[in-house]
Symmetry: C2
Subunit: 123 residues, 2 copies
DNA sequence: AGAGGTACTTACCAAAAGGTAAGTACCTGA
DNA sequence: TCAGGTACTTACCTTTTGGTAAGTACCTCT
């Protein structure tokens, strides 16, 4: 009855890697966590302008299932939960670096804009 | 009136790269073209078990628009069209290599299966 | 007292992505 | 003559993905 799969079968390695990275915000979450080391839920939400809370936890849960992020719950009130990258999350991020450079080159080529906060924020 | 966009705005390079690679078969098309240098439409279809003709051309057209593949039409009967990677397609493929290796490692870790022809083929 | 913050969860809805199956026009080989 | 190949195109439908908005429970600050 799980709605998540992400366990193949796969055609090749790229196929398997894309499966865990595809999702509107996943690569951004990866970057955000790599950049800050560890982040709370609300910090991530603020760091990803435009993300909905629903998608944010959905993605975080899937990435936890896939062994990319670690979720540390502090049993206090108000609630505190910290997210960080696991070993596999870190290596995935490293593997994404060349792709990021290629993308930066493409942005230059086509003259695409960067997302600005006023574009991303819904209010 | 074009239904395709893929022109940003983007949060970062990975975002921009993912935009042109996301699509069920795109990375596979990239690999297939890199592997064989140049392929005809029907050769690609046979090389990607399970792909529908609709998605195959849709993806090929988008990748052509994005400057990743070159489409060479030979005005003969029966029709002959050859697809190959452009300079940018080749460099994208190179940038995907580390991701492919990471994915191969993940397949090993979770013990995922490779797609077999009987799984992929619809008839 | 009331606004706003913590981290979610849930129901409902819209848009995007992808699949099926048929049609087109012309050719080759059995 | 008739199946099967070439490279598509089109209409229709299902599945997947993502967004909205509300609710939960408890806290701090003004």
């Amino acid at each position: 009855m799980t709605k998540s799969a992400r366990r193949g079968p796969y055609f090749c390695g790229i196929d398997a890697a894309m499966d865990v990275v595809s999702g509107k915000w996943k690569s951004l979450i990866l970057w955000e966590l790599h950049d800050h080391g560890t982040r709370r839920f609300a910090e991530l939400r603020r760091g990803l302008p435009g993300v909905s809370e629903k998608m944010l936890i959905q993605h975080l849960r899937e990435m936890e299932e896939d062994g990319l992020v670690h979720r540390e719950v502090y049993r206090e009130v108000p609630p505190k939960v910290e997210y960080s990258l696991t070993e596999h999350g870190l290596s995935l991020n490293a593997a994404l670096a060349p792709l990021g450079e290629w993308g930066t080159g493409r942005i230059r080529r086509i003259g695409a804009e960067k997302v600005s906060f006023d574009v991303a924020a819904t209010s």
